[in-house]
Every structure is written in C-alpha cells, then in structure tokens.
C-alpha cells in the first residue's frame, strides 16, 4: 500500500466503528478522511471544536465561505440542521460527555491507553489545542495512525513523550491491525490480511494479547 492507500484503509476501517446518530469529532489530517466513508444511510453529526456541529462535504472551489471553517482554519460546509456555537459551548459539549467518538492521530500510544501527540521536547511544540479535552471528555477515543514511523514502533508499553492524556484511549486502528485497550493491556482484534501476525508483533513495542483476534472486517 502506498501512503494514500494506507490512509484510506485506516479511515475506512475507522468508519465501521460509528453508529447512526453518533456525535463524532475527527482530528485534523487522516481522521478527517473518515467522513468520506460514512454510509449515506447513516446520520453522523460531525463536531468541529472551534464551534459547529454538522460539518458537511468539502466546499467546491466556488462555494468557499471564509466564515465557515474547521478547527484547522480550513474552509468547510455545514449540513442542513447544523448549528454554530461559541468555544465555551463547544468544550462543554466535549468535556460534558456529549461527543460519542473522537478520532485522532498520535505520536505514541501505550498499553495503558495513554497517548502522546502534542510535543516533542526541544524539537516540536505545536501545543495541545483541543486534544486533551477531546480525549478526556469523549465516550470513545479511537487513535487512527500509521502503525510505525519510518519503520519504528509507535505503540509502546509506556509512552516516552509527554502525555496528552492518561488511560483514555479505547481503540487503535492502523494499516496493519485493530487493537483494543483493556484494563490488562492491548488486545489485537483484527489483522489486515496483507500482514502476518508476526509482522504486526514485530512492528509493535507493546505486548499484544491475541485471545480476541478475529477475521478483519
């Protein structure tokens, strides 16, 4: 799979975790692509933490309204029934448990469900933005990312980078596999047929319990 195929594979797999009526926040980048795979007969309410529910399709070139943007400042559209609000309401929605699913990327995830995504000390300090609130407040947190970074693992027993949140991740979806976080660690639940169990284990720096492994969806 090339880079685009990998992203598409992950985004499509994430879309299977959504349920009709869910309020969902998709992070910038790969997670945004999940919207492309939502079945047309399903209503998903996409939230954007800067202040709207009801994110629609990307605007055509002549449809851009600079007053309608997502959390990355990019032009977006709003669906019928959508609603705008201020940042206080937006984070009330997020922290108050009114978001069903948050999908975001990470630099590292660990076997305790902790994640690191907002700082590489001395190197890159973009800031946490809304990520800390989103992963703490959402009912379900899915990490959608490539399994490795230039061949090096991103899934560890313990994150070494400063955390975004402790023990908040429910599921990790990569191009190689789907993993679920439980009290006693990571459970491998699906493997992409293009990879072997051994390959997944070798690409992962955390112990993977295989007792729940089943056919990939």
């Amino acid at each position: 799979m090339d880079k685009n195929e990998i992203k598409a594979y992950i985004a499509k797999r994430v879309s299977l975790e959504l349920h009709d009526g869910d309020v969902v926040n998709l992070g910038i980048g790969l997670p945004t692509m999940v919207a492309n795979y939502i079945p047309t007969d399903m209503t998903i309410h996409l939230q954007s933490e800067n202040g709207l529910i009801g994110l629609g399709q990307a605007p055509g070139e002549n449809e851009v309204d600079p007053d309608i943007t997502n959390a990355g400042g990019q032009p977006v559209t709003i669906v019928e029934g959508g609603v705008y609000f201020d940042s206080s309401t937006s984070f009330g929605i997020i922290r108050g448990g009114h978001v069903d699913v948050t999908v975001l990327g990470a630099l590292q995830v660990d076997a305790k469900g902790s994640l690191a995504s907002w700082i590489i000390p001395g190197k890159m300090v973009p800031g946490m933005g809304g990520a800390m609130d989103l992963v703490v407040g959402s009912k379900k947190v899915i990490i959608a990312m490539t399994h490795t970074n230039k061949g090096k693992p991103k899934i560890f027993e313990d994150c070494s980078l400063p955390l975004t949140a402790k023990s908040q991740v429910d599921m990790i979806i990569t191009e190689m596999a789907v993993m679920v976080v439980k009290e006693d660690g990571l459970y491998l639940t699906e493997i992409n047929k293009e990879f072997s169990l051994e390959e997944v284990i070798n690409a992962t720096a955390a112990k993977l319990n295989t007792s729940l492994l089943k056919e990939a969806k």
């Binding site: 202040g51 007053d67 309608i68 206080s88 937006s90 946490m128 609130d133 400063p162 949140a165």
Partner: protein
Amino acid sequence: MDKVISIDNFKEHLKDGLSIMVGGFMAVGTPEQLIDAIVESNVKNLTIICNDAGFIDKGVGKLIANNQVKKLIASHIGLNPKAGELMGSGELEIELVPQGTQIERIRCGGNGLGGFYTPTGIGTMVEEGKEIKTLNGIDYLLELPLHADFALLYGSTVDKHGNTMYTKTLRNFNPVMATAADKVFVQAREYVNEIDPDIIHTPHIFIDHIIKEVK
C-alpha cells in the same frame, strides 16, 4: 453615548505592557484591522491571550512577528513557526493551555468565579504546580480565572447599542472574551440600528467601543 470610535482613537488607548484578549480561532473571527493598528502603534511587552498564535501574516501572529509580545497564553502555536522560534530563543514566553481549559478560564474570569475543577490535563505536564482534587471518585485539576485589560473582538453585526452577533464559525472565543476584560473593543463588519433581542450573542453592556471596519 455613542460607542463608535475611529481607528486612530483606538490607537490612543494602546500602551506598553497591556494584557489583551483577542478573539478568533486560527485567525478566523479575529479583528485584523485592530491588530494592524497595534502593529502600527508598535507598543511593546504585550501579554496576548488567544486560542492560538495565528499565522506569521494573520491574526495575533502579526504582533508576534513584530516582536511586540512578551507573553502568549494559547492552546496551539503550530501554524506560526515564528512563535516557536521566539519561544526557543527565550524572547517569547508561552503558556500552553488546553483549549477547553483556556476558554473556561476566561469565562471564569468574566463570571466572578474563583476557579474550577477540570479533568483535562490530569496525568500530563499541564498538572504541574496545580492542586489535584478527587471529587465523586474522579481526579480534577484546579484551574484559575483569566482576565485582561482589553478584549478585541470581531463582530459580523453590531448595533448602535453595542449588541453583537458573530456569524458562523467567527464566534469561537469572542463572546466569552467580551465578559473578561476591563475595556472591550469590537471591529464591526456591519453596523446596524438594532438586532432582534432574542438572537444577540453579546449584550451591549459588555461592549465599550465599536470600530467600524474599513471595507
């Protein structure tokens, strides 16, 4: 009491060392003409409270690029490389705050509350130096209010009384910042006689001065 002032009159309010809240999210909903006036005034040592650092040529990023900012309190600086550079060299102090905590601290300051307990940041660097309290079995961080000398807002529709609306995603931090500063200035895209009292986002009592946008 006419609240409308000119951009030159706005400049007369500016001085070194002010703390200023600036509305906007990635510079969407930021009063760019007020920012430009601050750049022209060249006042220094500002403390800026904003969602993010904007871009080098957009939003509060222009103040950072012009070396007018001593301290920035924001949740994200990733789209303005100059902010990271000045932070690295020690010329700019940056306090990074989770976005939900940032907006809630501002609301806290505007609403006369002393502080609040949030679960956000527990188990991370954000908890350093802060009280942790367990309430109903959950760990929370104590976060404290933010208040500023000025708030600069971008209103899409402002009436002659100062009642303000922010259309679409321009709203973001603007209405909460309106409550948490000693003096509040709004750049008005449209200036009208009156707004339906049911749909006003910021009541007029919060708005001190209106600067009509130059088209």
